[in-house]
Symmetry: D2
């Protein structure tokens, strides 16, 4: 943990033009930072948008943050019209997990978190079902049973207290009002290969359509149902031999790894949203 | 080839009930046939539909076909209300391939056919583009350049002369009238993971939606666009780094194997259609 | 559970010849059994070995088991030189799970078992580490901490009390003597794509060799290390970006699904061993 | 093509230390180059090796190459102890393809090359079999039938005339002497998931071992058989149902895409060799 105090991630987006990498990496080099990894992407070298993520180590970073940000803003960000953000290694994001009856994604996230796979503090699990109380208690995480309608009570618990909300097979649709007031990214796992089977009962509809492959999709939640920027997807093969229950069973294994990858990448500041899509470094 | 004269595939579907496997396999055993492979599927053991495919070898089969079919009809099929079909090993299906500008699926099928991977006689390649004449000639297959509107001319070439039509990235929509008059199964490759991105420009729309996986779907053609029974699908991983042209390039590799598998399975009588879905043995 | 009393699976292997399917399905049909699913495989229709698995429902099965087995033995099995076994739906196999420090496979199996994905009674978890006691207690399963050398103590616990032993990342090599005395199938998960990287530290060696894909393999344990019949394998993509710890993390997700599939199939009597290989129905 | 004259790729490797990205990108920015893409990797930020690939566009590049290289060498490469290389967009690599009896990889490469998927001039196809002459002629590429022993004759044809040699299922082992004298990278496709099944008959041995997944591996050829740095691998699922011939058929589809990806990446200067492994950008 101590070591993390000296590392940070710099996230940048700006109109693409000559010299951006040179400007950013020159700034960090002048500050004596050691770049640990660097990723960049341009939607179009002529007139597109440029994205960058640089992870670096800088001795004495805790004392130099304000100065570093001020200098970066003046010397690099303003001239290049950048949106930018420094994420410091010792400022872990606070995560809340929302679940309904199905527990596979919830338990998988808690288990990964306990192993140290997720850089976060899980500050709350909220469910409209009482069943998961004992499981969650075993991980030492507060469990809140909030019967529907739940949004007001959830906002009391969450607003200002979390940096990201994860819907781990939470089956209620969140209102526009909730999303605005919670005011942090919300990541959902949808149990289909979007944009196929938007909405309810995707496995049943997959079975009816006779698809040979099923999937799951992790995405940021927006007002429009199942239409937010996709972070990650994966699939599994099925055949005429599987009924809906078996599709659900196969699908659970896909859902939990897809959601876990998306959450891990979000927590590592690897996911940048551009219009309705993501860049994942 | 000679050996094939003594093999056949028996395809059966009927209401599920007790004793079907015993009745069919008992019939073949009594006829001294040696079952080479057997597959069966029931949509529901209580009140569902039962499907079966048995491949067998029977010495002297060429002389015994009429007798065998008559006996099977009387003793097995009628009592069990079966739809049934014997496909004989020496009666190769006649295939016509339709293509437009893109040649990757066309050439891949011809190359597999030349290698002996497809049990068929390719009797014609038809295209609304003249470009593939030389490539197709190299395989010794008649090439017909039929400019659009092409349906009447194609029906002259195809009706009564083929057992299956393969749309190898043929970009014209076939009319209901054409499908009825050609009167054989038509297999299409759609360049998306159906039911996502039905219709035109699926790769562009996949790029716009920001999916992380693209796919291709081989299906039987019905009147309703891209909605016929799915035979096979496969997928490939993409990211923000690929533009539409690169999705198309990655997609071509998926399309050609998916179409080739679907065509090979159809030719081996492995694909049974049930309502809007397939059973693939 | 009550319903299960009336179902069974019949497993058969014998020299391939004419009429086996007819004989077995005819026997079941005469007994008024309803075949729910049927799978068969021949290593070679001329002189090979024939395998079959039939799942059936028979009203009054509990009272008719002895009679059914005696009749099957006389009328079908003896004439056809069969090895055969009836597995009854209400006779659940007893499973013991052995684990070492890593808990991901252990917890995943327990979680699936609690959900009802595994048809078994988990009668014991044994580990040479004390750490998993609380987790296992949460599932209501007896936990035995058995420090190494452990074989004698484990034999006391297991011999005669279990039908299958699962090595859920158990890192001790079991002796030939132990395997003989425990006298039930032992399923192991090896953290590589066998036969690559037999033995210790497969992820480190995969990293050193620079492979682009890693895998995991579930197999029956034999005397020869990592060389028993393979039940299931799966893989995941890696690159130069992942170090050994990240290969291990990616690998854990592969290991747990591969082991879970292998165990589920074994419990459903879907895995038949033939020489050094498996037939998985 | 004209446009390509103004683009280049800069490839760099050096001991990792502070400021490398800043130095290289600063140099290119000062030269008024527009960076089109940038990838970098460090085997270890403390004491490891740093790799970088930058693709850039520079107006007037054809006239400025000597000056650019001299300046880069003096100002950047020497102080940072770099190995470096500029690959110019209009200097296409010359490729020779070697094949034996199997033609699937050969034809697939030629077909991709004709479509424009491979940035190269295919200057020769050499085979110890005469069968592919007509197929290759259709692509307008010289075909040399060179019966074994072939190395001396092949060296006459190749030495000094090619930049890369592709073994498209060429089944002769090349001697150390040949590799030294041809003096360019040689890419091979091995029909197994290395390091499993090094050497002859991998599909037969895969069948005997009972693996559930088969694969193919593209790698640079070194003196030691099937042990050179791996560029790309991929896999496909198989079961007890496939015999050796069917594994070969499934394998062919894997082999040709794996080899095609490896060749395309090599031609785009995306593959950097580090000790016995590759970094693929």
């Amino acid at each position: 943990m101590d070591e993390r105090r000296h590392t940070a991630r710099l996230l940048v987006s700006c109109p693409d033009r000559h010299g951006i990498i040179a400007a950013v990496s020159g700034f960090l080099s002048d500050a004596d930072a050691n770049v640990l990894s660097s990723d960049q992407h341009s939607t179009d070298p002529e007139g597109g948008t440029f994205f960058m993520r640089m992870e670096f180590r800088l001795e004495g970073l805790p004392e130099r943050r304000d100065e570093l940000e001020r200098a970066f803003s003046e010397r690099v960000a303003e001239p290049l019209e950048m949106r930018w953000h420094f994420a410091y290694g010792d400022q872990r994001k606070r995560t809340a997990i929302l679940a309904s009856r199905e527990e596979h994604c919830l338990l998988d996230l808690l288990w990964r978190w306990r192993r140290g796979e997720l850089e976060t503090d899980v500050v709350a699990v909220i469910s409209n079902h009482p069943d998961h109380a004992q499981d969650v208690a075993g991980f030492g995480v507060p469990y809140h049973h909030v019967p529907t309608p739940a949004e007001e009570r959830m906002l009391e618990l969450l607003a200002g207290n979390v940096d990201v909300v994860v819907l781990a097979r939470y089956m209620q649709i969140l209102s526009r009002d909730f999303l605005e007031r919670v005011a942090v990214p919300v990541i959902n796992i949808h149990h289909s290969f979007l944009p196929a089977f938007i909405g309810a009962h995707p496995y049943r509809r997959a079975r009816e359509r006779g698809v040979k492959i099923i999937g799951a999709t992790a995405h940021y939640v927006t007002e429009e149902l199942d239409s937010g920027p996709i972070i990650e997807q994966d699939v599994g093969r099925v055949s005429h031999r599987q009924n809906v229950e078996e599709l659900e069973r196969i699908g659970r294994d896909i859902e939990r790894v897809v959601l876990a990858r998306a959450v891990a990448w979000h927590l590592q500041d690897r996911v940048l949203v551009h219009e309705s899509r993501t860049v994942v470094f």
